[in-house]
Structure formats: structure tokens, C-alpha cells
Amino acid sequence: MTVAARLARRALVTLGLPLVLVAVWWVASANSESFYLPPLRRILETFADVWLSARLADDVLPSLLRLAVGYLAAVALGVAVGVPVGASRALRDVVEPVLEFFRAIPPTVMVPILILVAGIGDTMKVLVIVFGCIWPVLLNTVEGVRAIDPVLDETARCYGIRGAARLRHLVLRGASPQIVTGMRQSLSIGIILMVISEMFASSNGLGFTIIQFQRGFAIPEMWSGIILLGLVGVLLSLVFRAMEGRVLAWYHSLRRSHRDGGAA
């Protein structure tokens, strides 16, 4: 198969189902008289007007910034706490029940409490995202660090790989497959919480705008916001996958070589 043919095939596989779904929506809604389910054509017409305007900087950008800050803080905190907990059996026994308790609390119920503590500004919204995103990263980091091969650990000890070098070359790399799994779970939680935190008390943001449209019965505009959210999700997951491909290239190849019955 030529390169062009291969690319065409990939594009077809990737975009085929989305295109079919859009087409079905388009056709099924074309003659819709329903106020709440307007034709897709009208939704897309409003999309450009609504989002490719000042709103991009006023609403979309602040949302994404809060998501980025909250998500990255959650990842940093989750890894920072997860590494010592994963490394120490004693610490794990003490901390794990508490972690399970906090993880079981839906982050959304924390919003009113966080408003009391942190007000209604960006801090509160970032904290909601942190509170929701930290658990998958933390718990997966604990598992990853725990699962580091004891032989590899002893090898590192024998060769004087200690302290920061041990953390960097052994612990973080060894736990990276699980850390990345946690980060992937957290990313989708983060997007949800980004929207929800803006629905409570806000003056800008994607979630805020969608709720405004909904309350003002601007239904096509509301739908266009929902589509934008979905697109943001797809985009972020593509970025994430590219990052994962770089960081875990060794891991995926290792797994593949095991699957194929080991190396040469």
C-alpha cells in the first residue's frame, strides 16, 4: 500500500464513525420543529458567531487555564504524595483508608464547602479540579511505586544509585506506566469539574456560558457550547496521547516484544 493510500485509510477509520453520526444528526434534525432540539444546521451556524469571537478569550481561555493549573497541580501533588506512600509499607497502612475515604467523596459536593473556604473566584474552581483529579494520580502512583521490581531496586542499590538519581532513574520511570494511567483518568475528571465548577458561581468560562444560554433559552447557542466541550475533550486527549507516546515508548515496545514471545 502506498503512503497516500495508508493515510487515506487511517483517516477513514478515524473519522468514519464521527462523520456518520454527524450526518445522522444532520438528517434527523433537519426538519425539527422542536424548540429544544433545533436542526444541526442552525447549531453550526451559531457556532462560529458564538465562539469565534471575543468569547474565545473571555470564556474559553480562562476555563482552559483553570483546567491546566488545577490538573497540573493535582498531578504534581498526587505524584509527590504517592511516591513516599508507595515506597513505605508502614505509611501505606496508615494513609490508605483515609485516601479511600476522600476518593469516595464526589468532588462536586465539595463545591459549596470550597466556596465557603476559598470564595467564588478562580482559586475555588482550581481547588475543585485539584480535589477531583488528585486521587487517580495518587492511587496509581502508589501502585506503580509499589510494583517496582525488587531486583531492579537491588541493582540500583548495589551501584550506588541513591537519592535524587534513584527517584529520577528508578522510581519515577518505573512507576510511569501507572502514573500515566492515573493522569489519563484524571484528565476526563478535570474536564467535567472545569465545567461544573463554573456552573455554581462564576462570571466567565465555558460552563458558565453554556448555563447562561440555557437559562436564556438560547438553545442553538447552548448546543454549540456542548459541541465545543466535546471538541476540547478530543483535542486534549490527542495531546495526551502524543505525550504518552513519547514518555512510554519504551514500555509499549517492551510489552509488544513480550507479546511476540520475547526478543530475538
Binding site: 531486583v151 542499590r157 548495589c158 551501584y159 541513591r162 532513574h169 528508578l170 519504551w250 517492551l254 516484544s257
Partner: protein, 265 residues
């Protein structure tokens, strides 16, 4: 060089204690290649971990050049049986060999030299940029040996390093190890359960009893220094030594601990 004095190791389990090593004392001189052989489950790995400073003995002490070993000392390198689990899969071959040298803060020029030299010595000139899992088991173990040599240890400990590779690769690796030993003059303590391997490789063979472990015999291997798989293994003296060690290990398995004298022919 390496002094093991009165090592005693008891594992305290829940409600029961297991005496793995009763009393082990031996000395290895600088540049010697000594093999430790014994029945499976006789505490060989426990002993090696005590010597390496990875495990604290219940009593007794290990001294490397007079210094008591309480943690892995800088002058010691270890090659484990599980080659697939002792190389960093996220690093290239070169990275694996080089990392311990970086930790030792060896200047980069000298580091390059040591890595090149070590990889060349194990016949892996052309795989510097490969990853461990792209190599066969035997090649991975060569990388582990290269890493150990490049580290320039005073003592190299090897824990059944060839137990998990196929027979032909194993013979190659045995000859490779003898070559490396003679070329670099490193002191080697080689643990194995394979009697032939112990006799073929060693200048001395320490035969261990079954657990709780003592030394049954410290046997000098009076085979010529030039050894090869074909002639050495078919030499009558090799067969005698082998039979003698075999007899001891059989006794050990049956729980006897009476040392026997080797008959001279």
C-alpha cells in the same frame, strides 16, 4: 580482600524462625575466582545478599579490604540471575552501563572509554543504542556483565548468572567470564547450583551444605589456567573433581555434613 567471618542468618517469620545460614567463614584473595556451589535452597542467595550488603546478617561480619560491609560498598558490583529484571528497560544499553559511572562521578571522557571498553569486552560493540528487551537473554546478561566490569569493582558477585540461559549460550558466557576475569584481574565470587560450572570456572570451589548452611569443603581446583569447553571438560582430573563435588552435594542433600577428603590419583 574479601573476608566473610562467622556469618549467621536467621529469618524471623510470623510465629516461626528459619535458620538459613548456621556459620560461614571464608576468605577470598585479590584476583581470585571462587565458586560457591550447593544444593538448591541452601541459602546461597541469602549469603550473597549478606556479602553484597543488601541484607544484614544476624551475626558475623563481611569485610571488604578491611572495611565492614553494612550497605552495598562502592567497590562491589553484582550480576543477578534475572537479567531481564536487572537492566533498566527505559534506558539504552549504553545508558545502563553508564549510569553507575555517572553516580560514581567519573569524568565523561573516562566514562565513555570505560563503557566502550566494557561493551567491547563482552562482544557487544554494535548495540549501544538498543534497548535491553530488544536483545536475547544471553546478550542481556552480557550487558549486565559489561556494566559490572565498567564499574571497576574490587569484587564482582554473581548470583547464578547463567542459570536462565540455554546450554550453548551458557558455555559461551562461561568462557567469556573466564576471559574477562583474566583480562581485568577482577576478584569474582560466583554462586551456582551447577557443579560442572563451578569446577569449570573456579580456582576454588566452596561446597555448601543444605540449610542451615555450613561450608562442607573448600576445594582447590588444580586444573590448568587455560581452560576450554572441549578439553577441560573431557580431562580426567575434571571428572574426578566433578565427581567429588557431586558426592559432597549428594551428601548435603541427605543432610550429612561430614567432610570427605579428596583422593589424589
Amino acid at each position: 580482600m574479601l573476608d566473610v567471618r562467622g556469618i549467621h542468618k536467621v529469618y524471623e517469620g510470623r510465629g516461626r524462625t528459619v535458620e538459613a545460614i548456621r556459620e560461614l567463614t571464608f576468605t577470598i584473595g585479590g584476583g581470585e575466582l571462587v565458586c560457591l556451589v550447593g544444593p538448591s535452597g541452601c541459602g546461597k542467595t541469602t549469603l550473597l545478599k549478606c556479602v553484597a550488603g543488601l541484607l544484614a546478617p544476624t551475626a558475623g561480619e563481611v569485610r571488604l579490604q578491611g572495611q565492614v560491609v553494612t550497605a552495598p560498598p562502592p567497590g562491589m558490583a553484582v550480576v543477578f540471575q534475572e537479567y531481564g529484571r536487572s537492566l533498566f528497560p527505559w534506558m539504552t544499553i549504553r545508558g545502563n552501563v553508564e549510569l553507575p559511572l555517572k553516580q560514581k562521578r567519573i569524568a565523561s571522557g573516562r566514562r565513555e572509554e570505560l563503557v566502550d571498553q566494557a561493551l567491547a569486552a563482552v562482544g557487544l560493540d554494535d548495540v549501544h543504542a538498543a534497548y535491553p528487551w530488544q536483545l536475547s537473554g544471553g546478550m542481556q546478561q552480557r550487558v549486565a556483565i559489561a556494566r559490572a566490569i565498567a564499574y571497576e569493582p574490587q569484587v564482582l558477585l554473581m548470583d547464578e548468572p547463567f542459570a536462565a540461559v540455554d546450554a550453548q549460550t551458557r558455555a559461551d558466557l562461561e568462557d567469556l567470564l573466564r576471559g574477562v576475569w583474566r583480562r581485568f584481574g577482577v576478584t569474582i565470587l560466583f554462586v551456582t547450583h551447577d557443579i560442572d560450572e563451578a569446577v569449570y570456572l573456579g580456582q576454588r570451589v566452596l561446597v555448601l551444605s543444605s540449610s542451615p548452611t555450613v561450608i562442607m569443603e573448600d576445594l582447590a581446583i588444580d586444573l590448568p589456567a587455560e581452560r576450554d569447553q572441549l578439553n577441560t571438560r573431557s580431562a580426567p582430573r575434571f571428572a574426578e573433581l566433578r565427581a567429588h563435588v557431586y558426592g559432597l552435594v549428594q551428601q548435603a542433600k541427605q543432610g550429612h555434613q561430614a567432610p570427605a577428603r579428596i583422593p589424589r590419583v
